[in-house]
């Protein structure tokens, strides 16, 4: 009797772990199918450009606006803290390092997950429940090739580009606040930034943004593609896409940073 209870308890405790492993496996499978259908003809450039416009171009304003204020507020906080040690001349360098290595890839990915990822999950989800995905398959058009491949490729290309825009716009915000409002010396701001920042920091950010772009589009497409249960199911898929992308991006960020600092340490400036 107690053995049966123990078995049931183990089952119950094991179930979420099993579900997690299953979900990871299914995402990896979708990635495999996506890579397979990416190299197979036909190549639909128009559909890819459309996805790139949706993920990239239509996110320009929101990414630009957010990054401007992230850079500005980060500079403001740093100046307030660094003034205690009369070290406010390092504000430009600190903001630049934080933006290129962490803030730009993470914030950009979160913005894209909330805007484009949610959109993808909703669109694919409603296509699934209204049988439009089945209709594609009946017309001998592979739905993964037509729907998932262009979105994932668009994410991989556009998120790093937007991340670069985030850095530039964030630095502009920091510059305006530091030099224009808080009277940090312009020459020191720029020179310190140039001294501390190197290609390693930029590559670290770009690499992270690429992985995040792949992750968030894959999760969003997976959730939409497998949506079921009518309008409510589409809502659930969208929520899961956004929450899943956020959590995965933040968890991955830690491990990617650790790996990067281990294998590609900086040779100058702060290590």
């Amino acid at each position: 009797m107690w053995l049966e209870r123990l078995a049931r308890l183990c089952d119950r405790l094991w179930a979420p772990v099993l579900a997690f492993i299953e979900a990871v496996g299914e995402h990896v499978l979708l990635l495999g199918h996506t890579l397979l259908w990416l190299v197979r003809p036909p190549y639909r450039l128009g559909v890819l450009l459309e996805a790139m416009v949706f993920v990239g171009f239509e996110s320009l304003f929101i990414v630009g606006l957010i990054s401007l204020f992230v850079g500005a507020v980060f500079a403001l906080q740093l100046i307030s803290a660094l003034r205690t040690f009369q070290a406010e001349s390092f504000v430009g360098a600190t903001v630049a390092l934080a933006l290129t290595r962490e803030l730009a890839p993470v914030f950009t990915s979160i913005v894209i997950a909330a805007r484009a990822g949610a959109g993808m999950a909703t669109e694919l989800g409603s296509m699934r429940i209204t049988e439009q995905i089945d209709a594609l398959a009946t017309m001998a058009v592979n739905p993964i090739q037509y729907l998932v491949v262009p979105r994932v490729v668009a994410g991989v290309i556009m998120v790093p580009l937007l991340s670069m825009l985030f850095v530039a716009s964030g630095m502009l915000g920091a510059y305006v606040v530091a030099v224009g409002i808080q009277n940090v010396d312009r020459g020191v701001f720029i020179e310190n930034t140039r001294w501390f920042l190197d290609i390693n920091d930029i590559l670290q950010g770009l690499c992270k943004a690429t992985v995040f772009g792949l992750t968030l589009t894959l999760i969003s497409c997976y959730q939409g593609y497998h949506a079921r249960g009518g309008a409510k199911g589409v809502g659930v898929a969208t929520t899961r896409a956004v929450v899943g992308s956020f959590v995965t991006i933040l968890v991955l960020d830690y491990f990617l940073t650790d790996l990067w600092l281990t294998f590609f340490p900086k040779t100058r400036g702060p290590r």
């Binding site: 197979r40 036909p42 669109e123 409603s126 296509m127 209204t130 049988e131 439009q132 089945d134 209709a135 398959a137 009946t138 017309m139 001998a140 058009v141 592979n142």
Partner: protein, 294 residues
Amino acid sequence: MVWTPPAEDIFRRSEQWHVRIRGLHKTFGQHQVLRGVDLDIARGKINVIIGGSGQGKSVIIKHIIGLLKPDRGHIVVDGEDIVPMSEYQLNRVRRKFGMLFQYAALFDSLTVEENILFPLIEHGLRGPGHNDGVRRRMSRAEMRQVALEQMDKLRLPHVLLRKFPSELSGGQRKRVGLARALVLRPEILLYDEPTTGLDPVATKNVDDMIRDISQREGVTSVVISHDMASTFRIGDRVSMLYEGRIVESGTPDEIRRSRHRYLRLFVETSGTVQLDPVPDSELVDGDGPGEAPR
């Protein structure tokens, strides 16, 4: 009682049968939907599959076009078993098919014209003159001409070309869905409950359309329906799905003489079709859920 198919080599291309299904089983979770379906689809005829809601009629046609993989069994299209095929191989077979979904499944982000042209844009080597042996992409003007021809055939006004699916009535959506399914001149057309949600006049129009297309284009049609009047009006062959198996299959006249108790109940309850009288003592029961599969 279960309908017994003729004992023949199903893997040989047959002039009489276009699609042959044997021993099809499918389970979703704990629910066993198909329990050994045997079914032959007659070439160039209108084959109607009838059965109650949730019996698995749509599951059968989704298997025929390869949208679902069976747990076991064979689906043979023109002598080729599609069950072991990969997605890539299936796409070659799917070009023989056109499908009209229950709610048309039009792409709601595309206009009517873009919906109709979608298969042509994807596989634009067909269309007018596609049998002349010259593989070439159709020009946009040629494609548009094909779209207009399809609309004329299905009596759709040209003003609808620029509209989106959300702006169409139920009947118009079905006709646009049919135009899209027909644009690549398929050999087999699958209709998933084509008259659901339509008023009697629209239902009759859709029936006429199915009959017309079948006669004019010579395509094999598979129609899923639980509209008895419609079934007996258009069907060349009628098959009854009950408890996960085909329990009766034949011409409408043969179905009228059926001794299957559930089939008679199903058809007569509709109140639109009269069956030939059969004494109660001669009626046979269907396979109950508790009976062992063959």
